[in-house]
Symmetry: C5
Subunit: 321 residues, 5 copies
């Protein structure tokens, strides 16, 4: 679906051409056209391909979706694919933003995502002196907007990790803890594969040889790269922490088991002693003088209780009970 | 076995020469010959070597099979070895496709695989304007077709992984789960070693210095590379997930054991208490007044049942039973 | 908050200009201005941006804080972000030092840290022959001071690790040990992410192509790099040791459990034997001659005690008790 | 010990000079001398050093043995050290082949190995058109022969791994399985350290700047490199599999333990119930009417057997027995 | 402490100047001075700094000690820091050797080490034709001597590892084994951090651009590098083996526990059966005909012993006892 289509000259909006009029503006050397689409249909994509002269393979990628994040040069046109992950019902849903950038046009197509990128255009139009830099700056603004969407996701996952860490050494939480750590690791993997390829691709947009479109905006693109590096570092830290936490969780399980075993052993010992005693006085020997004592029975109970009590306190002191 | 042998001029089929006539067409500068073979015999390979002037070492590789995927230059001829894994009876069987590409010929040999690559020729012939690019484009088409065969395999393995994950935290499934994870990891290793070397080799067919045959089709070969990178990333993600899943599975085993131990301890305690009580009233003291009570026996049973019942409920509440 | 602002000429202090006067000194080619701030406000940052003509993106980074350590060139100005971790109440708190360096000025902003960097200025003023090297030397002095703050932290963490290692194979400490190792690993991760990016960034300030500001102080910056490498190596060693220690701790838990199990088994066996014996003599057979012996009862007890005693000593010798 | 010494001209054997005559042939520009030795003594090495003018350090390496596989240039002479592992009595014994190659000579010294490399000379002499390429081709032939010896070793280890894998999930095999996996990993490490350094060294003998001796045989040496890469990949796959298999084996142990525990718990429960029942009827209450019944005893046994039987079947169904 | 100070001309000793005379010899272009010190004091270091014109930062490093192994260029002077680990009372103590090398001088300072490096000077003086190469050759001789001290250490640690491996699958050794493996890993880490940085630094002393002092001795320094690589490889192998061994040790613990559990279960079963039987005959039913049999009691004992014996043999056969 076409969201909007605007022509800019010297950083200022000059018209909102229809799709058919786009080529008129492309013919002029002093302005550029910025088209935004959402979940573009086959037909719409074909129109745009003709209008802007896009390369078959790039359009193919945009059509299929589910690309790795990447930046590819086709002649003097750039094709940028980015992931746009969202948190929907405790699941990460991964949308995409595909951007075609030429010297005097920029076409952005958002797919399977509820994230609104309209704010980017507003921000750009508020800063005409920057928008004057042309399509390269719009590319930066779009990338920056996408990358900015990653931060709250990372924060959310970090909070989840901290919440799990609070129960890491608590008893009885182990299965839930491990399941949560596993789920978190899966989500972080999704994010990692959104961030890392984009980071690597972005690193080629500043510094040494860069695509001509990005020459004027290198410092801005380096800033995007820097953000991605920061996110990537955080992700790596979390992955490492989760792996350690799973390892540690395993130990917690073992230690808990150890304590159960000790308790089991202690109670077994106490009852075994009681059973041995009552067994002794249950024997049928004819000459067992204590059996004839008037207070033999309560004495016997007292003996048993005392011995078991002593055992109980010894185990208690040893930390087994 | 020779499958077919066709000569093309300006992207259009001009003849189906016999093996002997191949050299006539090679002598012409304006056309190229595309030969497809399957499970080539020693004799057939020798004929082709003479016909196309192939290098000893490359032919040796094709003869032996079981090569690593690779792209090798021999003078102005390219030798490309690719793996073609298939899923046969829950096992991965790895066939091969070896391709020799010269300026005006292309020879593809498929071995130990039921996969049909005939569709590649059809697709190429339907797009003469691309086939016009020469043997380099046919190489791309073959590589693209082989790589496209990897996707359904990956999807299948991903589905299997998801199926295993559903039972990851279920009790009693551990051994089966771990055995499945182990088997899956083995299969993924096979795929990894089909994909990664090919990916690395393909990365040298576009960008900087490339073999002359690939100069016109760099953007297409980069697309193949991009597909391989995507597959490779998915494989790495799965490997990582499987390793974590095995780790997590170990924890599930331990946790399950913990619960068994707790249950064991609880029941042992309950019966130990009952045994101690009946032991007491089985003692032979002469003065045990409760033994003479008319309702002593049922009362004793009541006491035992009550105490055991109380224990039972305490254990129940504590989650041990 | 502005801490101080001094102008230097040939390595000697010539004035303490107010903020408004800074531009006068910047206009002179023979001197440079060194401004130090702490927790700068938005307004203060804006003033400084105007005064020194700093780049938007760099100022943005300084405003937001929480940057990765980095060194970025904006034209002929350098922006350096460093972490300044402190140990407050057994927690690592991470402050920051942001430095803007131009040909004839240096602006350092310390944020969220109680560490005092005043000593740097004193040290520099004591060595005018070095301060004469200009803003590049001040940058070195600041970096050196920040990096020097890492050493005591590392020492502290190493001491903690050694303290944990002493109890690594002790019984009953496992949960505490593992929790401490986990906490330590987390702290080391924080430090790692302060040190490694800075190390990588610093490696670009000497050797090949370096920013013009650093040309005269390359050997000094290499020294900073060398310190960072040393810290980084120590961190990596500690991380590796901690991972191994957690693994080893798990084994200690298992071994302890083994011993508990053995003890449990031994006592269970001893009492089972006693119980079997008393059970035998508790049977109601009419013809059990030993029951009628005058010393049957004490003999029976003797038998039981002897057998159990023998078992006890056997278990003792086997190391089970 | 000198094995043989032959002079070749245009790829054809022209003489078998004695050691003293070697220098005569070296003086001629149109031929080269190929000397093969086995377990060379100090004296023999010194003679050869003088004869061929070998570098002190290289001769030192050949004398000491136990070198890493490597390729080193000393002026226009190459020194190549290779490992030659053999399987002797289920142990890997690592012999060595050291080769000195100059423009017009090749000296190969085999040490501590029963592998016969005579076949190499025969093969070379059968292909004079290749042997004409000079000492570089002989180097290739020797390297190829050594590397070819690795394949059967790898196959053997792979078979061993497969044999172990068959028992991976079997109960009661764990200790043996793990010990075998450990032993296998050790052997693979030995092989890895024979293959990887040689692979890296070989990669510098073709492609970019190569030693002059190898210029004509680059495609052959790339083939050796390719073989080494294949072996290396297989080794890495096996290492990875073994690590996973050890991990999985640990789980098998735990799962087996789980089952033992369950069985223990089940039987304990059944007997505890029986013991409780017989204990009840062993109590000495005066009014226990069932004790007076004529068929009380068989009825009691029936009750006990029924209850225990029911328990037995429940445990059976639950998979605990 | 100054050990000795000698001036050499054309590889031959010409004088033993006092510290004050050193500058006289430095002024001559045809000779070089080699000074050896041990645990140099602040004052001695200052004297040497003046005498040879050493850089502040290098002298600072030598003064502080505890540097990473490294090679640093200060103008045309090289500063080399090496670790010199010793085995003292089963602990690794790490001394240092710092070397300053200029065109016509070499100053070596050994710290905190009992290792004697005098042999280096003797060896050099015995080979004047090599010593003629100048200070670069002395640097090589010193590095070679230091690196040669690593080999016996590595051998010692390898022997320790082999000793541990012998008990790896033995029962009851686990805790000691794991503690030893842990200790060994720690020692190997110390060695690793002595070897790896030195290896990396040495790799820059031959091949491409090298410091002028090393130009004539590149082949010798490559030999040092080769030794370091060999040591490094061995270290990596050992680290890998130790990690696997710890993993394997954990399994041994689990398997041992399994066996204890099985034995426990078996004995528990045997006694439970005995207890159940005696309990039966201890019941107070009036009509239990077997109780009245004359040989009822011995028969009962026989039955019990037979049943328990049968159980015992079944468990024995199953490997549980």
């Amino acid at each position: 679906m076409l969201l909007n289509c605007v022509a800019y000259r010297h950083g200022v909006k000059i018209a909102e051409p229809t799709v058919e009029e786009i080529s008129d503006y492309l013919a002029r050397t002093d302005c550029f056209v910025w088209v935004a689409m959402r979940d573009a249909t086959e037909a719409e994509l074909n129109t745009m391909q003709e209008e802007f002269g896009l390369h078959d393979l790039a359009v193919e990628d945009a059509r299929h979706g589910h690309q790795r994040p990447k930046v590819e040069e086709y002649g003097d046109t750039l094709f940028v694919a980015m992931h746009l992950p969202e948190y929907i019902d405790a699941e990460l849903s991964v949308g995409e933003v595909n951007v075609f950038v030429g010297r005097n046009f920029i076409l952005s197509i958002r797919s399977r995502s509820s994230h609104n990128l309209l704010g980017v255009r507003e921000r750009c139009e508020r800063e005409p002196e920057l928008l004057k830099l042309g399509s390269g700056f719009v590319l930066y603004a779009l990338m920056d907007a996408v990358v900015d969407r990653y931060f709250p996701l990372i924060d959310k996952l970090e909070l989840q990790l901290e919440a799990i860490e609070e129960h890491l050494f608590d008893k009885g939480y182990s299965l839930a803890t491990i399941a949560q750590l596993y789920g978190l690791k899966r989500k972080i993997s999704v994010l990692k594969h959104a961030v890392m390829p984009l980071m690597e691709a972005t690193s080629k947009l500043y510094g040494g040889r860069v695509p001509p479109i990005c020459v004027n905006t290198q410092e801005y693109l380096r800033d995007v790269y820097d953000h991605l590096t920061r996110i990537n570092t955080t992700i790596d830290m979390m992955r490492d922490t989760i792996t350690t936490a799973i390892l540690v969780s395993q130990s917690t399980v073992s230690i808990e088991q150890n304590e159960v075993n000790k308790r089991l052993a202690a109670w077994a010992a106490i009852f075994a002693v009681a059973t041995a005693f009552v067994g002794i006085w249950g024997m049928n020997f004819q000459h067992m003088p204590e059996l004839k004592l008037e207070y033999g029975y309560p004495l016997a109970l007292l003996v048993i209780i005392t011995v078991c009590g002593l055992l109980y306190f010894r185990f208690k002191r040893a930390g087994w009970l």
